[in-house]
Symmetry: none
Subunit: 415 residues, 2 copies
């Protein structure tokens, strides 16, 4: 099946927003065996969008339109498509209920232009919006197939994954199915990973092996093309075993939507272990990351942000004269912070972070120098010295990920 | 002048690479008064690229082509364009010297396919590549103008800024320039903002007014088209004054790269005021947000993450029997948390967060119910009751932004 993606929005043509939706959709459609031949960005201009639709009808079998479903006058994607296929727009009743509930909950007045967001093409399949208000639509006629998705990635992604993808799989089944498995790695860079797996990647045909570098981690997507699930899984199992023999040391979990913090919180829950933190340069980011996981309160009672030397002493009860000798950017400080936090919060684990996020040096230590402590009930405290690179935000993220991995390895006795 | 941007590369259509080049070029071209009407991505396929060039010739006066200038067989942009305009490719002598020097310095052998990188269209203006090997080209004929740039952003950006932009300014001088100003708003949704400004937006011509919704905030970009900067600023000042008369209540700052936290940290610094926090449902995210701003240590010594009732009592010294009556998701609890944090950290401000991030209810309070406390040295504590919507992560982000805005308004005496 030949598809193409149209993103509608003048903000894209002005360079105010990056078209990450096209990237996301291309990757997901490729996984489904749907080939994307073009991306186009067009402004909020009905005439140019209509001309584009006339062109895309001649060359593609699925047109994915993103953006322009909102409440304002320049949101016109639905109107142009409705004219193009010759059907009226109708209000979606489910969407109307959700829209009214949204404004009631906020205790604010709904302006009438919001009703535009719950209109869809008559005869189309409406797609509810779990994270926003503008509903999507899959519209098929004898000429073509059109998928309408909202512009904000926080709305487009869940709508595509939860609503549109299953619908497309049902409407356009393929005899050869693609089955994917995603392996996630921490502590190894993409270039080293592909070097270790060079021979496998060169010889790949079925399954294919696709590495993706993400911030502070690498994923490998292995995809088998088969007629049934059983032979797919057999192929994937074999390839996975070969990969693990080479780089299994760095593997931490499966799945596109998985993350290191989710793996760590699951491990803590399974083992009935609790955790706290004392954060200097990360300033709460480690704990905020834990907080993203629903139900984390079972294992995480709270912790400390000790940015200044004074709060390291006051909140944690550390004798501040100790810092005079070793400084706050030191192995010793990380150890003191972790052990004090463990005692104060009465948890099984305590992670501490102290270091230099930059842009400037601190205590003559270079930007990126980070000490991470891991105190454990009944076990010796571990401290790692790290030298992270790139900018302030990346250094903080690197530290959080490394702290999570230290906890993971400790629970699994892999330290 | 009407322009469009074509990015060539199958990796873009597979979702492996984001088309940031189009974003970069669009912004720079808009600043020069060149209007970009389309972005297109096409794979490494000569036939589809040629068809696209036939189309773009009919609708644009400048075609910017990025990518496909490298040494491998799938790099074919130059060849397709040369055929399209009917001229041969020739070697660029300057490029050849640089290419040979590159391989000599590396002490490695140059494979013959590298010579493809220094070919340009006969009659075109070659553009040297300071950060890579593939040279670019500006080619003009009676039909159209074509600008060829390399795909890697690290090569494209310097080549555009240093070579192509001055050349375009000379070749296509414009009398009219675009000057933009971005206004940022918090506490008003996009639909209400455009409703308040409906008349202005309807009648806009010069300056234009473009609203853009971002997570928990809205920006307005006002753009004037004038011959000089003085008259641009006069126009922008006037439009801004009209906007502020209607929605100035929600305005917090200027600039595309600005943010609410940066405004708040600047205000704290200017007024020599310090801040701490006690966070329950946000679990450190407010403090981590403060931590993103370089130099925040001047005003932020640290704070508390008090996720459980026990840590609310232990870390902050609150009498836990108080929670028996009012619960932890309450105005009273937010007040107690903020006041205790203020005392413990000895700061001028303390912000507290307690509420329900979801997915489940807590103490019979609905998901999204959040109490935010603001304790201030020498002033009465303020608590707001909020009803945020969407998912766990959005609710936490909404709470952080509202907490920041409460601090901003307090410093500016706008509470």
């Amino acid at each position: 099946m030949r598809a193409e993606i149209i993103a509608v929005g003048t903000e894209l043509l002005l360079g105010q927003v990056v078209n990450t939706n096209a990237t996301f959709l291309s990757e997901k459609l490729a996984d489904m065996g749907i080939e994307v031949y073009f991306h186009t960005v067009v402004g909020d201009n009905p005439k140019r969008l209509e001309e584009l639709l006339q062109l895309t009808d001649t060359r593609s079998e699925l047109i994915v339109l993103c953006g322009g479903l909102g409440p304002t006058d320049d949101d016109l994607t639905k109107n142009v498509l409705a004219d193009h296929v010759g059907v009226p727009l109708v209000q979606n009743q489910e969407g109307l209920v959700a829209l009214k509930a949204f404004f009631e909950q906020r205790q604010s007045t709904m302006t009438p232009n919001n009703l535009r967001q719950i209109e869809t093409l008559q005869g189309g399949l409406p797609l509810p919006n779990r994270t926003g208000l503008a509903i999507g639509c899959l519209y098929k006629n004898e000429k073509n197939n059109y998928l309408l998705l909202p512009g904000p990635p926080s709305e487009l992604k869940p709508m595509f994954l939860e609503q549109a993808r299953p619908l497309l799989e049902k409407e356009f089944p393929t005899t050869e199915r693609l089955t994917s498995r995603v392996l996630r790695f921490f502590g190894i860079g993409e270039s080293r990973l592909v070097t270790e797996l060079a021979e496998m990647i060169e010889q790949q045909s079925n399954p294919t092996i696709a590495p993706y570098a993400k911030p502070n981690e690498v994923t490998l997507r292995i995809t088998a093309k088969t007629e049934d699930e059983i032979s797919a899984n057999a192929l994937l199992d074999q390839t996975e075993a070969e990969i693990m023999a080479k780089v299994g040391e760095f593997f931490y979990g499966y799945g596109e939507e998985n993350s290191l913090v989710e793996v760590v919180v699951s491990l803590l829950k399974e083992n009935q272990l609790s955790i706290t933190a004392a954060e200097s340069l990360t300033a709460g980011e480690f704990q905020a990351t834990l907080g993203r996981v629903p139900g984390v309160s079972e294992v995480f009672p709270g912790g400390f942000v000790t940015y200044s030397a004074a709060t390291k002493a006051n909140f944690l009860g550390i004798d501040s004269t100790l810092f005079d000798h070793v400084g706050v950017v030191s192995e010793e400080c990380a150890k003191l912070m972790a052990e004090a936090a463990l005692q104060r919060a009465e948890t099984d684990y305590a992670v501490s972070f102290t270091g230099v996020a930059g842009p400037d040096k601190l205590e003559d230590k270079a930007k990126g120098t980070v000490y991470i402590g891991l105190a454990q009930k009944g076990k010796a405290t571990i401290v790692t010295e790290n030298h992270f690179t790139r900018d302030r935000s990346y250094i903080r993220h690197s530290a959080v990920m490394k702290g999570l991995d230290m906890v993971r390895r400790s629970i699994l006795n892999k330290n």
